[in-house]
């Protein structure tokens, strides 16, 4: 378990103090994939670096499995970092080492003998699907392949945690998919707790169990992904989740409703049932639905007919069918 308590990080520049993180309280449970999302400059990269103390917080506590990292002697901290793997947006592979020797690097540090390290590295390269590239140099690989090597390297010392700092942000959509699948596989089969830092909704959407939304150095909202996605409370979460420039508001004079789907209800043909039951036309202005853990979540914006009686009927039907909605 990783616990961050009252974390604060201030950077000092010549002219001013910049508060990068303030009053951060988070608990990341073992075995979950935890997402941290925010716009660039929100402080999320600093936050993830505080977990392994690449950045030393100005105040507060970082507890990993109950150990306060800030109190650990330097040597023990280095030792502990071996149980926290990390991958980066820029992959950060050793350019002058082969793929195999990149993966053996952390093992050499741990003092493993050459033959064992090689065997372990080959195992990991097989896991990430790069067995045939062990003799290649990073410059000969594609972005996705480099990230796979980085994942193999991070997993070499069998860490309990894996920190991913914008790990897919430099990759194209297809490659992003395959890297996310690999992370999910590592989480499910090896039980590794994964912390994902990203500015992309789809990354959170696809692999995370819980998410923290960070804005302006503060945590704006934390919760299960399904919950935060279906009913974002903070402005920043709404801004990140609800699409920009949706046509709502462009059409004036009509009443609009935002229907929220949480779980099973979206498997029912709700809109057709609604229209058939009320004998009133509605028009769908916007819909954004997703499948999470086999259930559907999302929201939809409906424009209602102008006639007041028809509107009442529609609202009554929604109430009776326990579909949550709000005026949009």
């Amino acid at each position: 378990m990783i616990e961050l308590k009252q974390l604060k990080k201030v950077f000092h520049t010549a002219e001013q103090e910049i508060v990068a993180l303030d009053d951060i309280n988070l608990t990341i449970e073992d075995g979950e994939i935890f997402g941290i999302i925010g716009l660039s400059g929100a402080g999320k990269s600093t936050l993830v670096r505080c977990i392994n103390l690449l950045e030393r917080p100005t105040s507060g506590q970082v507890l990993v499995d109950g150990k306060d990292l800030m109190q650990l002697p330097h040597k023990e901290l280095l030792q502990l970092r071996r149980s926290i793997g990390m991958i980066f947006q820029g992959f950060n592979l050793l350019e002058q080492r082969t793929v195999l020797r990149n993966v053996t690097f952390p093992l050499e540090l741990a003092g493993m003998n050459k033959a064992d390290a090689k065997e372990r590295a080959q195992e990991l390269l097989e896991l990430v699907g790069l067995s045939d590239r062990e003799g290649s140099y990073p410059s000969q690989l594609s972005g996705g392949q480099k990230q796979r090597v980085a994942i193999a390297r991070a997993m070499a010392t069998s860490p309990k945690y894996l920190l991913c700092d914008e790990a897919t942000s430099a990759l194209d959509p297809n490659t992003t998919q395959s890297i996310l699948q690999l992370l999910k596989q590592i989480n499910r089969t090896m039980g590794v707790t994964i912390v994902v830092i990203t500015h992309e909704m789809r990354v959170i959407d696809q692999i995370c169990d819980r998410v923290a939304v960070i804005d302006n150095s503060h945590i704006a909202e934390v919760g299960k992904v399904s919950q935060v996605f279906s009913s974002p409370r903070s402005d920043i979460a709404k801004q990140l989740i609800l699409p920009q420039g949706s046509p709502v508001g462009k059409i004036t004079g009509s009443r609009k409703l935002r229907l929220v789907f949480e779980g099973n209800s979206s498997h029912m043909p709700i809109i057709s049932d609604l229209v058939l039951a009320c004998q009133a036309p509605v028009s769908i202005l916007f819909a954004d639905m997703r499948d999470l853990d086999g259930k559907s979540y999302g929201h939809m914006i409906l424009e209602l007919p102008d006639e007041a009686r028809q509107q009442e009927k529609l609202l009554a039907w929604l109430d009776n069918n326990h579909i949550s909605y709000e005026e949009a």
Partner: protein, 226 residues
């Protein structure tokens, strides 16, 4: 076509000896300068503002020292450092004294070369190694220096050529080699062809060092897709 002097120098083997002395003084001085300059460059880099171990005062002191030695023209530094040579090798004359001068002049130069090569190593790679729990010394020996290797080799080639130039200057105050041959037998006795021959020989030596060094640097660099 050639002067009698040149003929005599060649027959007595003085020119051949000069080639050997220049080569040997250059390579030996470069080697010793690297033994001192490489650690100095590493310290300059890691104690710097963005280094892995910022120590402001130490960095400042070394930085100023390096700048002072780098800003003195070699010909003046050489004369000024004669007492140092006496302390180190017991004499102010001959090649041993000259090697001391060359090392004094070249070490700060090499330290800067090393520092700038290390600056080229991606901070991300260093961060990744730190995230893996790499202790500082191994960060230097296993990450920074190996990753900077091609650039360090290029730096070594440039340094060697510079030191070769210095070694020729050392001919004016009692050093030996092609520089001394050119000055003593060419310049002072008005035999222009001796000067020209020495110059051409130095150019050839520089070319050989340059070509071989660059070839090695290129072969070593795994960032280049072959």
């Amino acid at each position: 076509m050639f002067s009698e002097m040149l003929q005599k120098l060649w027959d007595s083997g003085l020119i051949q000896l000069g080639i050997w002395q220049t080569t040997y003084m250059t390579l030996l001085s470069t080697l010793i300068s690297y033994v001192l300059g490489l650690p100095l460059g590493v310290i300059l880099h890691i104690t710097g503002k963005d280094g892995i171990h910022p120590i402001r005062w130490l960095n400042r002191v070394l930085d100023i020292l390096v700048n002072i030695f780098r800003s003195i023209p070699f010909i003046i530094l050489m004369v000024a450092m004669l007492p140092v040579a006496r302390v180190v090798v017991g004499t102010t004359m001959g090649n041993r004294a000259m090697i001391v001068m060359l090392v004094i002049a070249a070490t700060p130069y090499i330290a800067r070369m090393v520092e700038s090569s290390l600056k080229e190593v991606s901070p991300g790679v260093i961060e990744a190694a730190q995230a893996m729990g790499t202790p500082s010394f191994r960060l230097i020996t296993k990450v920074m220096l190996p990753e900077a290797k091609p650039s360090l080799i290029v730096g070594a080639v440039i340094s060697t050529v510079t030191i070769l130039g210095y070694s020729a200057m050392a001919g004016t105050i009692g050093g030996t080699g092609l520089g001394q041959v050119a000055i003593t037998y060419g310049y002072q006795r008005f035999e222009d062809d001796v000067i020209w021959v020495c110059m051409i020989l130095i150019v050839i030596i520089v070319q050989i060092i340059q070509e071989v060094g660059m070839h090695i640097a290129h072969r070593t660099d795994k960032r280049i897709v072959k």
